[in-house]
Symmetry: C2
Subunit: 323 residues, 2 copies
């Protein structure tokens, strides 16, 4: 594989080259990893897209929102990439973005690029691959990268750590269910969007929006927010209403953060975070070689049989591993 | 420090020697670690106490329960040790067991031994120290080791992985609050004990017990349980009622597990678990040396400044660390 050639084609905006490069960064093969590292170094980090993390539990209309929102952006001449972080995708057979028909129109838009989550059960692996895919999309000149995740478990933290802005999509709900959104998730959100503000649900959606506006005002003000943020809004992705307002709110926030140094500061902090996570995962990857697995299994049997004390055996194992 | 002498004193049941040995295993100093390993090897793993994990959120009357339950056991001539797993204790100044007056009578009982949680914010560190303290208590001939934790976060998993039996203590509550106990915690419990079945709360306690009995029946039967387990009971720790029944239920269960091989099987699985956790923590401890911290900080700065790509820098860092 000619890495210089691939880099040039990506920068020139060739979709097939981008798709092949993402397949390359998703590979676990050692030679592919080396090529991926070379490719990312060749592409540099000069071009920056607006990275928008997007979370929402199943049923909130995430696909419809991404399709409508993405088409609005491409309609303005912007190039939009959609990636996903879903550690469960290999088990469930692809619960999000696995099926391109979910975003039927957007997926056929020449200014959009949709890529399902890399199939890998380990969240750390999905995260590294997605971050590299984002870098590839930025080098390819995309203006906006949407990073979708499901609103369960740790994947939101992971997506927030690779996004400039974090959008939480919610469905209209009674006041009781406001409790259902974990405080930690709400504290991550820059903009909460209540979807399905249409038909019978419209009044409920507006009430839900008001509830969340109130809840957000109770949170401690974050330094990286101008007055009025984080904020709650409501939209109808189905009827394509409220979407320009969401885009404007996101732009206002990102402009303010750029002007006040928080944009660079956040990206720098995120780079540190992923470096440290990377160090840990490279250290632990030493346990994944066939020889290490075999030694680990043998010593684990001895420990289970009571022949060795677990903590002492662990120290001895690592000493041998490093020898 | 004469390790052979210390081992003999522990086996002879000298409380001061046990207390000093626990202080030794709690130390992070390299020479202390070496001595602790030597001590644990000298003591062996021949004597086994019944290890009972005990969890409950603040306010359920955990101290009162442990005091009453512990005194009942010492009254039967049994020797009882009480340890705690509380990763927050160094921050909060010791939220559980920090204050011995909490268990005033039990702490003065010659057949009881109470030790607060080692102060350490890192749960893994507390876990290793507590497991080693359990081994010391077993070598010292204690019949029962109670391992207390607060019902929040991951510490319950940690305690369950070092216990033969897991007891979940709950307060009387309306039907709605049944949802408050996470399914994962409930699945860990061998016996659920509703406390405060006295005075005005008695009827509510009995109803709560019935609710949990119903909920437990809905869980999938575990191979390590005889008919009727896991079960829900109610007690009044304050009035010392229901405690013999809880002790009988725990004994019945542990006898059945011993006879059917599940006791040994669980301990073997736990040894494997702690060995694997130990390997990870020893690997990651390489990052805690002053030299490693310094190198990590310098490279982190370069990554934050965009001079290096996080994943590639991580690979380079670990390569240098191993050189």
């Amino acid at each position: 594989m000619d890495i210089t050639d691939m880099a040039q084609r990506i920068i020139a905006g060739e979709r097939r080259a981008l798709a092949r490069a993402i397949t390359l960064v998703e590979s676990a093969r050692a030679d592919h990893r080396a090529q991926a590292t070379e490719l990312l170094a060749a592409l540099g980090q000069d071009k920056q897209a607006l990275r928008i993390g997007l979370s929402g539990t199943p049923g909130v209309g995430k696909s419809t929102f991404i399709e409508s929102f993405g088409l609005m952006l491409t309609g303005q001449g912007l190039r939009v990439a959609v990636l996903a972080v879903d550690p469960s995708s290999s088990r469930s057979g692809g619960s999000i973005l696995g099926d391109k028909t979910r975003m039927d129109v957007l997926s056929r838009d020449p200014n959009a690029f949709i890529r399902p989550s890399p199939s890998q059960t380990h969240l750390g692996g999905v995260a590294r691959r997605t971050r590299e895919a984002i870098a590839l999309c930025e080098a390819a000149g995309f203006d906006v990268v949407l990073i979708e995740t499901v609103g369960v478990g740790q994947s939101e933290t992971v997506v927030a750590q690779m996004s400039d802005l974090f959008l939480l999509l919610l469905a209209p709900a009674g006041g009781d269910e406001l409790q259902g959104v974990k405080r930690g998730i709400m504290e991550m959100a820059d903009v909460i969007v209540v979807n399905k503000a249409d038909g019978d649900l419209k009044a409920t959606a507006l009430r839900t929006q008001a509830d969340y506006s109130g809840a957000l005002r109770l949170l401690r003000k974050r330094p990286q927010d101008p007055e009025g943020y984080p904020r709650a809004m409501s939209v109808s992705a189905l009827e394509e209403r409220g979407l320009p307002e969401v885009w404007e709110a996101l732009q206002t926030l990102s402009d303010w953060r750029r002007e006040n140094g928080f944009w660079d500061q956040t990206r720098a902090q995120q780079a540190r975070y992923w470096f440290e996570e990377g160090v840990k995962s490279v250290l632990l990857a030493q346990l994944e070689t066939p020889a290490a697995r075999q030694a680990l299994a043998a010593l684990s049997d001895a420990v289970a049989a009571g022949e060795q004390e677990p903590a002492a055996a662990a120290v001895a194992f690592v000493r041998d591993l490093r020898a």
